[in-house]
């Protein structure tokens, strides 16, 4: 059996199996640590930094840090909350996130985090970068305007032989997601749907699909992201 260890998050006593990543350990203790590039079942990357917490006074990403005995974790202090808010605002100004015209609106994790943090307007000037929509794939549309470069599609989507279908191309501020032209043509409907679901924003869309859930019934219309974790009732043994 795994060794059970004790630690605290914002003063709350928590328990988890040793070696578990902090976000997962927090989730099991009913505490929500916001994430964006992290996805259950995929090796964590720690690239978006939204899950930043203070571990024993030092800033660390909760998705890549394994929990250890007697760790003192700060999650909800104003400094960290403001830091996360800044990161989310930067995502909004760095790309072209026109929520009213987006198929993923209401189901988008970036938008949901902005709602949770009640961001009324970003503090930074909008960059309005020039980015392309790639509709050459028979199953998927890729809108680089909305991509936040979290690499979830690269890390999480493989064909039946285990080959990756998505990859980074170009460098620096011109970096974008590319779909393998050969493997991309052979995409199954399920894999295309999985790619759309794994994308936290609306950068990967299944063709001829969108706006299929009415406003008011979408994932984040009524309850904020993390609500299910914070209100999860731990079953009594």
């Amino acid at each position: 059996m795994n060794q059970i260890i004790r630690f605290t998050i914002d003063g709350t006593e928590c328990m988890a199996a040793k070696g578990q990543y902090l976000v997962d350990a927090a989730r099991e203790n009913g505490i929500f640590i916001p994430t964006l590039c992290n996805y259950p079942g995929i090796k964590p990357k720690g690239s978006c930094r939204v899950c930043t917490v203070k571990v024993n006074g030092r800033l660390m990403t909760a998705c890549t840090t394994p929990v250890a005995e007697s760790m003192v974790i700060e999650n909800l202090c104003p400094e960290i909350e403001n830091l996360r808010k800044q990161i989310i605002e930067l995502f909004f100004v760095e790309g072209n996130h026109f929520c009213p015209a987006c198929e993923k609106s209401g189901q988008c994790e970036l938008q949901a985090l902005a709602y949770r943090y009640k961001i009324m307007a970003p503090r930074y000037p909008f960059a309005f970068p020039q980015r392309e929509v790639d509709a050459s794939n028979p199953k998927l549309i890729k809108d680089q305007n909305r991509c936040i470069l979290c690499k979830r599609c690269i890390r999480g989507i493989h064909d039946e032989k285990g080959r990756t279908i998505f990859a980074y191309k170009r460098r620096s501020n011109r970096v974008e997601i590319g779909i393998d032209p050969k493997l991309g043509k052979e995409l199954s409907d399920e894999t295309a749907q999985k790619a759309m679901d794994i994308c936290p924003v609306g950068a990967l869309l299944v063709r001829e699909k969108g706006f299929d859930i009415p406003i008011g019934e979408r994932k984040y219309d009524k309850t904020p992201i993390g609500h299910d974790i914070e209100h999860h009732k731990i079953p009594t043994p």
């Binding site: 909004f92 072209n96 996130h97 026109f98 929520c99 009213p100 015209a101 987006c102 609106s105 209401g106 938008q111 902005a114 709602y115 009640k118 961001i119 009324m120 307007a121 970003p122 000037p125 909008f126 309005f128 970068p129 020039q130 980015r131 305007n145 406003i215 219309d221 009524k222 309850t223 904020p224």
Partner: protein, 183 residues
């Protein structure tokens, strides 16, 4: 004490936010007890007749006239509120921001399928009376100081109402989760 005075305008917007103001339903009767309107498309007053307390701005700045009106509002209103996505981040008009202005005009007046055959003289309107398009669409807070932002496309009527009441009464704004939406 006289009632606070409200002015509203629609810059590069679709008037959807003004529709949402009207969407407060019967509370509009409370509104006329609460505030007075000056320059606004709602009462069709074209020019500021006095200094106002609150200015509600719908839409971003896509041309020189928008900038002129916005600066006029800043001069004449104590508090300016950006109402809606277009005022906050340019919105749908800002989707042209990645396209050079020449290309936009050529598509609209020379090459678009509905104008190609009809604009035989190949004219792009350039009368001095016409406002000049800006190089891109700007959010209002990048042109003048904006005091508050109400997101939404349009902002929910409840959010606009609560924000107006909070501004007029000086109480803290109640913001339940459901009212802050970007679409």
């Amino acid at each position: 004490m006289s009632k606070p005075i409200v002015a509203t305008t629609s810059l590069a917007g679709c008037f959807g936010c003004h529709m949402s103001i009207l969407d407060i339903d019967e509370r509009i009767l409370d509104l006329i007890h609460l505030v007075e309107f000056d320059k606004s498309p709602i009462d069709d007053i074209k020019k500021f007749s006095r200094k106002c307390d609150i200015g509600l701005i719908e839409g971003g700045c896509c041309n020189s006239e928008n900038v002129h009106v916005l600066k006029d509002f800043r001069e004449n209103c104590k508090i300016l509120v950006s109402v809606g996505e277009c005022a906050i981040m340019g919105g749908l008009p800002a989707m042209r921001n990645g396209i050079p202005i020449r290309e936009c005009l050529e598509e609209a007046y020379l090459n678009g399928p509905t104008v190609k055959e009809n604009n035989k003289l190949k004219i792009i309107p350039n009368d001095p009376e016409l406002p000049i398009l800006l190089d891109k669409v700007y959010p209002c807070h990048e042109v003048v100081k904006i005091d508050y932002h109400l997101p939404g496309c349009p902002p929910r009527a409840d959010l606009i109402w609560e924000a107006l009441v909070a501004l007029v009464t000086g109480n803290e704004l109640k913001m339940p989760y459901e009212v802050i939406k970007y679409d």
